[in-house]
Symmetry: C2
Subunit: 145 residues, 2 copies
């Protein structure tokens, strides 16, 4: 289920020279168990159910650490605040301009294309995000109806 479960997070953290604290483990578990696309405040609220003393600043600091060790990734899905997801195989997002719903889809555009772009601009590409905006079926119906 969790993308990181093959290597426990404690190990990943220690290998990166960071300490494996219960807060860090909890925050990552929270992201795993409650689905992706959570923002800092949502992670905070959910995690506090298990650890009522957790502070919001710890959530932010942990997010930084988890980003740094490459376990999670920051998303900018819509105009609002930052959201996070566990780093997995490249998938991308369709965001409905009507209701805000996010549909994930697997990377369909060729590795070759990205490789060519890297060559052309002398740029070593380490990640690709394709965001599509538009209207989902329900919103289109509402609008036409």
């Amino acid at each position: 289920m969790c993308a990181f479960s093959a290597t426990p997070i404690s190990k990943i953290l220690r290998q990166a020279g960071r300490r494996a604290t219960p807060q860090r483990v909890l925050i990552l578990e929270t992201l795993c168990e409650n689905g992706d696309h959570l923002n800092a405040n949502e992670i905070y609220s959910l995690a506090r159910r298990k650890a009522p003393c957790l502070s919001l600043s710890t959530v932010y600091r942990t997010i930084d650490v988890l980003k740094e060790v490459g376990v999670i990734e920051e998303l900018h899905l819509s105009g609002e605040c930052r959201r996070y997801e566990i780093k997995g195989e490249g998938h991308h997002h369709m965001i409905c301009r009507g209701c805000g719903k996010v549909i994930e889809f697997k990377c369909p555009f060729s590795e070759g294309l990205i490789h060519d772009l890297g060559e052309k601009y002398d740029f070593e590409i380490t990640g690709a995000h394709l965001d599509l905006r538009g209207y989902c079926a329900e919103c289109r119906q509402k609008m036409s109806g």
Copy 2:
């Protein structure tokens, strides 16, 4: 030069039922003349050179209006705040993880692909953003050197 110059902004605004105020024209000119990827505060500082009384809230409100009438577009290039650019032909961004430099490139991946994705997920796609992250030539040199 400016993408909107074919139709003056005043006309676009009026056609959308909004008033064409000097502030709105100035803010769009500022984006045009100073290049894209500006954030609200940068637009504010630059525009105030010509109109010292301009307020930051007007910049934010104007950004909303210009987005609404489809003249500019919001970008989420990096972790920081929102940036804006004049809406033109679809181009995408390579963002250097080292120095933050942004390279623009034209949409090279097939319209067909996007069309197929829309069909598959029953989603009417109105816009596509491809963001590539990685390292530019200079940063790679610095890192290896």
